[in-house]
Symmetry: C2
Subunit: 567 residues, 2 copies
Amino acid sequence: MTGNEGDMSGKYTIGIDFGTESGRTVLIDVATGTTVAESVYAYKNGVIDHGLPVEGDSVMLEPDWALQDPEDYVRTFQTTVPDVLAKSGVDPADVIGIGIDFTACTMLPVTSDGQPLCTLPEYRLNPHAWVKLWKHHAAQPEADKITETARSRGEKWLDRYGGKISSEWFFAKTLQILDEAPEIYAAADRLIEAADWVVWQLVGEEKRNSCTAGYKAMWSKREGYPSDAYFAALDPRLANVIDEKMSRSIHSIGEKAGELTPQAAEWMGLRPGTAVAIANVDAHVSVPAVTVTEPGRLVMIMGTSICHMVLGEEERTVEGMCGVVEDGIIPGLFGFEAGQSGVGDIFAWFVDNCVPESCQKEARESGLDLHRFLESKAAAQKPGEHGLLALDWWNGNRSVLVDVDLSGLLLGATLGTKPEDIYRALIESTAYGTRVIIEAFEASGVAVQELVACGGLPEKNDMLMQIYADVTGREIKLSATAQTPALGSAMFGAVAAGHAAGGYDTIFDAARHMARLKERAYKPIQENQRVYDRLFTEYRRLYDYFGRGENNVMKNLRAIRDKVRSD
Amino acid sequence: MTGNEGDMSGKYTIGIDFGTESGRTVLIDVATGTTVAESVYAYKNGVIDHGLPVEGDSVMLEPDWALQDPEDYVRTFQTTVPDVLAKSGVDPADVIGIGIDFTACTMLPVTSDGQPLCTLPEYRLNPHAWVKLWKHHAAQPEADKITETARSRGEKWLDRYGGKISSEWFFAKTLQILDEAPEIYAAADRLIEAADWVVWQLVGEEKRNSCTAGYKAMWSKREGYPSDAYFAALDPRLANVIDEKMSRSIHSIGEKAGELTPQAAEWMGLRPGTAVAIANVDAHVSVPAVTVTEPGRLVMIMGTSICHMVLGEEERTVEGMCGVVEDGIIPGLFGFEAGQSGVGDIFAWFVDNCVPESCQKEARESGLDLHRFLESKAAAQKPGEHGLLALDWWNGNRSVLVDVDLSGLLLGATLGTKPEDIYRALIESTAYGTRVIIEAFEASGVAVQELVACGGLPEKNDMLMQIYADVTGREIKLSATAQTPALGSAMFGAVAAGHAAGGYDTIFDAARHMARLKERAYKPIQENQRVYDRLFTEYRRLYDYFGRGENNVMKNLRAIRDKVRSD
């Protein structure tokens, strides 16, 4: 056992974070939140986006498809949990709880006893029988229809989602199954989030969580799902989708889902009866894991994209947010979510497509990867020194414009512009994008006094974090662990177990004891802030000009492109 | 002798093109325009932009400086002319005329007998005693003062230059000498274009040309120079600059300057008394060399930048042009000049700064340079397919906005954007820039029915030329020779000699016999034109929005940059 310190209860909890390419498990000391051991299982079938992993690989997928294999989730349980137990030497009897989080919306069709349709021989060659991963992007027409139908009926719940339903969400994927594979839709007794499906595998019962129901399936605690009349208007065959294929019984984040069945316990080498938490989502579960259980502090999961979450006492309508869900993040509070659809992705695009050989050579000679090399050059600059400004829309704009047809802009280039100048300008543009979101929250009465960051980007991008602090004018604190979601899941595992079993009765208690931030924080530097305030004014003006219909050149270019390509 | 064909008179003429890095001489058959021999002299001292080429190299230059050594021009005469005679075996007695063209404004201070001050020991270490090359950019404050003084006095001649005087022009450079080295100004008996200075060296007499006087020194045939009162307002010490340092005697393009002195003849191995033409400018002398001696056909010298020239019967005010000069290009006509300040320069910037190693490797494996490699990929695309749009202002905008503080813009980028997409978009943006200029000419009553291209770019950029034809909707013909300016100078040499001596009496006659275009022309492709018309509408809107003050973000970024850098 390593890394165990402080006040020890001798009790442990397990968190499992089901990601895009792998599942990651941590074994955590309940008293201190210290990670005792961790283990990763790289999914055997990874992201299935080319052909189904069946004999002969003869079933090919369309370009925008992204599937997963549910058996990879079971294998994650079977390999990583025994591994952390073995590495730590912890007695399974001292593991009091288990929590999981998942990407979302990642969903699958199953039988009434939870058998995934893709595991049945008669459906195995049908791609619609498999798990649709969050980034399966083939359901855009269905998403458009969901939004249009809601808009034309004046459905009030649409406001909670910034006026637009994403193609990644539950009913877009459901409708695609119905449209393209009605036989799969008919054969599915249940359509379910993978998050809830793995909990079902652990506790032997279907227990759906409020987070995915709220953020991905248009459910709310006070109003439930959209009406059957709405679903009938969307497609008559969907009229009873909730009662036929889903469930109106939704369990709040923080509740206990049940206890490990003997079979699940055997998979993992744990004790049958171990408490299991209601499922959660990777982003949302991170919030208490970075100590945030109250309004006023915005959590940013920073990676290829950014997910922003903040808590509030009341429901508010915030322009272009991804969703507001009561009990969606922390029980008893409204969880607001917003997002930037391209962040690390844009920097990766730049590094892959726009950095000259001379730079790459120099980077190799310095022993730095290209990101670090460009950062080392860009960090020597003062704000405003490169003379560039960008709109960070390489992957569209999620919040607050909710428009996938917007595109990237770079302005201010001269014959003297260097790669590191553009690199810095791109980073700054994503910070301006975050500031727009913060200002939208505050304009709607959702306070944002401080930022807390976790995810892959903050770990290694010192300049980026300082720029975010300077641009937003807010102090940024950092998660103490690189495994924030898994820690959050483990915390909910401790809450599922409860105080009597050596855990905690509430997530507030768990956060107080188990969550931690790094000592180091990024504080805004006043003279940088002054320059960035001027630059943000310019950004904001371009943002509104190109993003709000005054000049639709980005959409026009896309329309021309699509027409030319299809000719 | 090679390449000599058709109706031969047995008479020859010599053209010498004084460029930025070298002087290039051609020996041309007067009857057919065929190049019989050519020779290049790379200036020993090249572009002097670091330190003066004096002992110890101890006199360093400021960053924006660019000088030349007049002795390099003499060495060009001494080496290249004997070389073409030797190569061709032509009898010097059969060489009837000689013409020269030069970069402009390239100017120097000399004594009353034509001795450059930089060759005198007492001034040799003073940078202001040397030749200021066209791209010497250190006189921007002086240029601003010249424009402002003219504007505040309501000087009408300012209209002929699009309302703005460039820092490259004659009086900006003159005023810089006066400001920074009054002793050089005082010692200079003459301030003179290098073009006129080399002719002086050939004929022993100062004979100034109407082209540089008109385009670079604010002279016009009907009104002469700006008034002494204007110069006095600019600086009291300049009140008599024309009479003290220059000359009011200006000779039209197409006139004979004189005959070779024995000394000049000896330098070159030619016969004393050989006719010498009035000096010309590289761009302007190219017009008759590509058969254009009448209105309606726009000549484009396409290289790092584009110079556009077209002839008219009447003076017109065209927005943002570089100048209109009667007799400036062809005697008896008004020569209109416009310009794009960044074209090939932008593509070079892109190739140097933005092309990833993977592309560079692939290019090497294909045995292509990066330009050809990117072209090969981009040429496979249809117009509009990449979804991008750029504003070609990496080096500011010359015509029609006349604004050096504008900067480049790229819009429409996505995570799928490839280097060849951006490369093609940059080329297209310069074609849109040309179309704006053509439309400005036509809107002012200066017809442009057809385009004729010469210079470095058309020679090797097939895709680029087709894009220009498609974007402008006009057929583009190409110069038959890669040495267009030198051929033009040789033609003027034949005119200086006159028909009686075996040459021609007018440039019109010379053009009819000596100038030629390639068989191949680029014709607009209708379906491409349709797409480019739509894209140009978008370009035009961005052009006006960012270029005409509605959104001054480019200037604001530059102001912020300059402030930050100076802090």
